[in-house]
Symmetry: D2
Subunit: 244 residues, 4 copies
């Protein structure tokens, strides 16, 4: 299967930000690193600097699952790119949105809601609980796992009611958050996963990697379509006629 | 309560279209006509020609429920208007989308999906069944009601799984359609109601009027918010502190 | 509206249990106490000792909302009573299940699942967050409220995906729990509310009372039916016939 | 994978009923017939006459998916068998309920609702539309398929809102019905499929077989649990401790 990882890649290149020491080659490279260990997963990456060339209709048609990390530069992603990503999902491509991607253009398009939340930066420990242990995304996880430090996200999370809430986060500062949520959108599957502030080595965490790997396999489409945006006008169905 | 009805009002003014004879003052006037009979409902209308002035942030703040009918000119609704409508719903305003409004900009923004369907114009009789008889939108309806002639809509309907499917349509030509669907979007309630092709007197039908009247009352917000798009950054919650 | 409160009323009468000091007249009396302050709410109570006489088909027909608190003696509730409660909900009666009622016979019948959870008794402070601030059950609540001490409940909670998760609990010991959940079951509305261990004065808490009062108003049926268990056999629908 | 088919097998053995000619070895044998053509599917069958011996806790632990067809003798299925089936599903076993099994004990236990519907026996043609074409259960189907004659089922269908409505039926007599519905119940997946009146050769239909085959593969658990009914009491979670 083909995975495409989009990462903003601005924080990591900012000398004043700790992200560059933690992810010297970018968050996308860290994620690609562990996904490429899977014999059946092939990974491409693209960053904001070349997003218009790196995310096209043709590339998305070749992509089984798109992973998206963005934070301060959502507005710089061209509307056309966001539209292509949304249509690709509606046609079957899977999508995994990480952390601050809750306010990315493609995620907001697919949700239709504010995608707002409350937040706090203060090195809180996060405990991620599995609320849907039967879900494929939870395979290989214990009852909970811990992330020693992460940015705190809190409710209310301005999302449509998820199809399933797989993970719920607990933060030492007192907040809770629906940290792992799934939605079906057209032919495509969407997963939002909350952990991942850029100044912590979260994407090296084995449990976080397990969730992302599970999510990619879960979101991979078995069947796809094209032209989901069309409204066909077939003739009247009549007895004996069982197809277009 | 304040209701605002947006209607494209192009078909009715086209001499070559039957809609003008059926709705001489426009679909919006027909709908306003029966809603104004309710002592507690106040109705304003706006059409495509003046939509930028007729749908503003201030006007939407004063609106409890927006009803939307559009067909061939969805693209002419300014993106800014669609964005304001979406935000108003996320802040609490109710919205009722009728018939071909499934492809309107605001409805598509709130759904995040293709909102596609199959269709056929051929005077089919439609039988609208009540699949959720307990739902407030179904109050006063029998097990089903008939619409002597309507444009046929058919599945698959490219919507996110509705919170509730209140009505399902049966067409003589053999199609079925989820004709009455509800969704919660942020603080606002959304209802899609399929009947209403412009060349039939459907909005004069008592059962259709009952559904729209029920939907308006159901969608009216009890409480609203502002600034749903913001991501607040409150300090850490501590014992004894129960508020922002 | 008529509210009926069922409370097991065993802990409170056990001299070795602190519940008797906190609720000298029983948890049911404490809840009835604040509900009766509402001019439009009339309250009856019944306990396990007289449940077969106190919960009958006729009494349930007169009841708008049933509140249920039970813990160690779920098995002593007659199956017939549980069946009558389930049918009454399916016919429109609202139901609010509190705390350990997650393993009550009626709740388990309505859910169809294990209704299991993890638990811990250790005076944890609980912070109850509002994840659906727009919901009627959340009216009058801040972003969160605190309960100084409660029994800890934790995920995974063996429930069908709620229609809405209104409240999520945070416990000092590190657990999270979907503490306020709604479901539609037939014509009736069901709300589960997690706080309420018998050895703490939780039902005197103003925020807890607000939630229960809101839940009762939300669950009150606007319309009811009878005989929801029947499968009618009406003749074929034909054009022009719009009613049974 | 192991499939177990329960069929009442009374109609087929009744000389006065046409079912015996259509299914001389029973509906269960007809379904087993096409499933056994799959190299990876192993099928066992059990009928009402030996249901207490044929459906035990051990047998269900060995079963990946249970298929259930019952009609007039739901009451003769022992409550204990229904309870074991429900628990097996909650622990991960998949379940496919066919036609009149909507009123079977296990299905009603898993739903918690009336599972009522309206019905009519009159040789109506049924057109089954695919409302969720992306769903695995819809693989290999056209936009719709036809069943030349079936018993008519109609709305309202007294089920909890399905997780997904995959198929919607259209009947010549004017009814509609949510003919293919999915639910997650605990660790197990449940599918209800409406076609299948015993006096028609419906289970020989290629499209019907496709749906059942797809449903069996979809419902097969990837992971299972035991003891889902328990409420564990683990110690307080603390930093560094990530497992029970």
């Amino acid at each position: 299967m083909n995975v495409l990882i989009y990462n903003e890649f601005r924080h990591e290149q900012d000398p004043g930000c700790a992200a560059g020491k933690i992810y010297p080659e970018g968050i996308h490279s860290a994620i690609a690193g562990f996904l490429r260990k899977e014999p059946d997963i092939s990974v491409r990456t693209v960053t904001l600097d070349t997003v218009a060339e790196g995310i096209t209709e043709e590339i998305l048609k070749e992509t089984d699952v798109l992973i998206w990390w963005g934070h301060m530069n959502h507005a710089d992603v061209p509307d056309r790119v966001a539209e292509l990503v949304q249509e690709a999902v509606l046609n079957g491509m899977g999508a995994v949105f990480l952390h601050s991607a809750h306010k990315s253009k493609p995620f907001m398009r697919l949700m239709g809601t504010s995608c707002s939340l409350i937040w706090r930066e203060s090195d809180d420990l996060e405990r991620v609980w599995v609320s849907a242990p039967y879900h494929p995304i939870a395979a290989g996880l214990d009852r909970f796992f811990e992330i020693p430090a992460d940015e705190t996200y809190g409710e209310p999370f301005g999302i449509p009611t998820p199809d399933e809430t797989v993970l719920i986060g607990w933060f030492t500062g007192g907040e809770v958050f629906r940290s792992g949520c799934t939605w079906q959108r057209g032919w495509g599957k969407v997963f939002y996963f909350q952990p991942g502030h850029e100044t912590y080595p979260i994407y090296y965490d084995p449990n976080v990697q397990t969730v992302i790997r599970n999510a990619v396999r879960w979101a991979k489409p078995e069947r796809r379509t094209e032209n989901c945006m069309d409204c066909p006008n077939p003739p009247k169905a009549h007895t004996g006629m069982s197809t277009v």
